[in-house]
Amino acid sequence: MTAAIPSPVSLSLDRLAIGTKALVAGIDWAMLDAGDAARLRNFGFDEGVAVEPLHLGPFGRDPIAIRVGRMTVAIRRKHAGAIHVTPLT
């Protein structure tokens, strides 16, 4: 099934499996309100940055703890949905 997906594979960060390293391919800033967007930028989310989902919240798999650069941050699933990533193999 994975063979059918064209390369480079891009998916939203909320669908990236725990422990999978990826690079941010792009961020859909229009999906975020100004405050949330500013905070994501402050955490260092940007094209080309290495990310890795580390932990999921116990209820409804939300929020998600994500390593970004050398920091770990927690964001909600809906915000992770605005971040597109390319998994590293």
């Binding site: 949330d36 930028r41 932990h55 919240g57 116990p58 209820f59 939300d62 050398r70 941050v73 927690a74």
Partner: protein, 614 residues
């Protein structure tokens, strides 16, 4: 006289900024407030190597000069020289976490662009090394164009070097290579990453310790269980560990009362000292150990970095009631006291999330309710075992906490459906490294609490107790009359009584409610004062619990407990709410809805208990 040179300490959250500030200034610190905003100003004095004093101000942590909270706005305004009540700093000390350079350098670059004389403290280099990160400070210095000093604030490493560097900088001010280009954040971020990459000599995977701990503490099953267990241990400890010191304080107060009785001639003065001051304030001071234990746990959870994890675990559940995981920390702090809890809501970005949290914070069972709960439970609930080593008294106490939490969640739900509809901000927070907090920092926190509590006991509580004593003592009762019937306080209580009689409150309670507006624990002091004035000779030897048990029917006692779960009886909370919401609208709303809740809850409890024939 010229003011001392002012050095601002700035940096991103979790850079170890306050620890460095503590290491530089030691005990010579002042905590104040910036005018017009409720942001604390921490300043201290530092002696430079040549003996010159300078003033250091510890600015709130910020990720950039584009603020997303009132705290970050203060940081920006001070740095730009636009903050009321603060002169523009003469120099800057930027603190960055050595193991998080690519993020922290962005803010550092923004600050260096300001063009002030600047030094960068490359902090927590030991932890970076432990995580396998080897850095080249000389390269960093070259890239940034300002001096870079390696420090480990919590071990006082690099403090002397930093002191010398600050001395040099103030003696011959030189500026960084500022280009006066207002770079946008993304460009700064990219430059920060390039510089960080250049300064790294070698690196291996990050934060193995923190990651390993998180895989247990944030585990979907184990995580919530550990959180619940921690909360349970915390509240058990509040009661179990406090027994002995409480008894000491009680004995000390009894000794003081007997000494005062012996030293003073019988009459109004002895009555004022023994029945008013010692009985009233003593009843409250007994609870100092419990309050300290609770704060000790909260400081420990905050200092280790676990609090943020608790917020992570609870976010989804809290989101369902219309709060965010960020509200978990303020609400947990409110178990100690709603005032710091409400102040901690400043970290919540969304205004409606924040307001909801402020409005429900007083429903968390604060430590000031403990005196009331403990007294009533000891007097009315038998100390029996309900099995498995669980005592009935403890169970009732636990039930009261649960009532408060349930009330808060329901109130949040109602507020979010009603007056505070809409909004619904995000939940984004950094999960910092775990670290073992310095005992010194925890002790400083506890000492501040003791000071605040004793000041309250010495001012508000002593004051209201003395006024109440006067109102309850005059005019004096004649033979055959009860003091609480003829006194001024008795007549005021008659008025309140007509309102609260339907929910089962007697005149003694009516008498205690008014002074308890100042602070809940005054209710205990007030009842203590009244009964000590009313005491007949054979009652004189009885404890307050025994006197209560003899005078109040059980439904009344239960209604009294239910009342205190909800009633907004705390002037400090109302004042801080007014300050934090910039007006009287929300504090008045809070008082109104909480009194209605308290009245209804007490009424339902009383009527149910009477119907059940208790």
């Amino acid at each position: 006289m010229n003011p001392l040179p002012l050095i601002a300490v700035a940096g991103s959250p979790n850079a170890g900024k306050s620890a460095l500030f503590n290491a530089l200034t030691g005990a010579r610190q002042k905590v104040g407030n910036y005018p017009g905003v409720t942001v604390e100003r921490h300043s201290g004095r530092l002696m430079l190597a040549d003996g010159r004093p300078v003033e250091l101000v510890d600015l709130p942590g910020a990720y950039s000069l584009e603020p997303s909270s009132p705290d970050e706005a203060v940081t920006r305004d001070v740095l730009l020289g636009q903050q009321k009540g603060e002169r523009q700093p003469d120099a800057l000390l930027i603190v960055v976490d050595a193991s998080n350079l690519d993020n922290h350098l962005r803010f550092a670059l923004q600050l260096i662009e300001l063009g002030l004389p600047t030094i960068v403290a490359l902090n927590m280099v030991d932890l970076a090394k432990r995580d396998g990160l080897e850095l080249d400070p000389a390269r960093l210095e070259q890239e940034l164009g300002v001096p870079v000093i390696e420090t480990v604030a919590v071990r006082r490493r690099g403090i002397a070097e930093l002191n010398t560097a600050l001395d040099d900088m103030l003696s011959n001010p030189r500026c960084g290579v500022h280009q006066h280009v207002k770079d946008d954040l993304l460009n700064l971020q990219r430059r920060a990453r390039d510089i960080a990459a250049a300064a790294v000599v070698s690196e291996t995977p990050v934060r193995r310790w923190t990651h390993r701990l998180d895989s247990v503490l944030l585990h979907p099953v184990a995580g919530p269980i550990i959180l619940a267990a921690l909360m349970f241990v915390m509240f058990q400890a509040v009661f179990a560990w406090s027994e002995v010191p409480k008894a000491w304080i009680g004995d000390a107060m009894a000794w003081l009362a007997s000494q005062a009785s012996a030293a003073l001639p019988a009459g109004p003065l002895r009555s004022l000292v023994v029945d008013g001051a010692i009985a009233g304030v003593g009843a409250v001071i007994t609870f100092l150990p419990q309050i300290l234990i609770l704060f000790f746990f909260i400081l420990l959870l905050e200092g280790t970095g676990y609090m943020v994890r608790a917020a992570f675990l609870m976010d989804k559940l809290m989101h369902r009631t219309g709060l965010s995981g960020r509200a978990f920390i303020p609400l947990l702090s409110s178990f100690a006291c709603a005032v710091p809890g409400i102040m901690a809501t400043r970290t919540i970005d969304d205004p409606k999330d924040r307001l909801t949290t402020i409005l429900v914070a007083p429903l968390m069972t604060c430590s000031a309710r403990l005196p009331v709960y403990t007294l009533i439970i000891a007097a009315f609930i038998p100390n029996t075992n309900v099995g498995l080593g669980i005592g009935l008294q403890g169970l009732v106490m636990f039930g009261l906490y649960v009532c408060g939490i349930a009330g808060a969640l329901l109130a949040a739900l109602a507020l979010r459906r009603g007056v505070l509809k809409g909004g619904g901000g995000g939940f984004m927070m950094e999960l910092p490294k775990y670290q073992w907090p310095l005992l010194k920092d925890v002790l400083i926190g506890l000492l501040t609490r003791i000071e605040i509590f004793l000041k309250r006991a010495g001012t508000i509580i002593l004051g209201t107790t003395i006024v109440l004593w006067a109102l309850a003592s005059f005019p004096q009762a004649g033979p055959g009359q009860k003091q609480s019937d003829v006194s001024i306080a008795g007549h005021i209580a008659d008025g309140i009584h007509t309102v609260v009689a339907p929910i089962g409150f007697n005149k003694d309670i009516s008498l205690a409610l008014l002074p308890a507006m100042a602070a809940r624990e005054v209710a205990v002091a007030a009842i203590g004062t009244v009964y000590s004035l009313d005491a007949t000779s054979d009652e004189g030897q009885q404890s307050l619990e025994q006197r209560l048990a003899g005078r109040w029917p059980l439904p009344t006692a239960l209604a009294f407990l239910a009342w205190f779960v909800f009633a907004p009886q705390c002037i400090s909370t109302i004042a801080v709410t007014r300050r934090e919401t910039n007006g009287w609208k929300w504090p008045l709303f809070m008082i109104a809805y909480l009194f209605v809740l308290a009245y209804v809850a007490a009424g339902l409890t009383y009527w149910t208990a009477v119907a059940l024939g208790l």
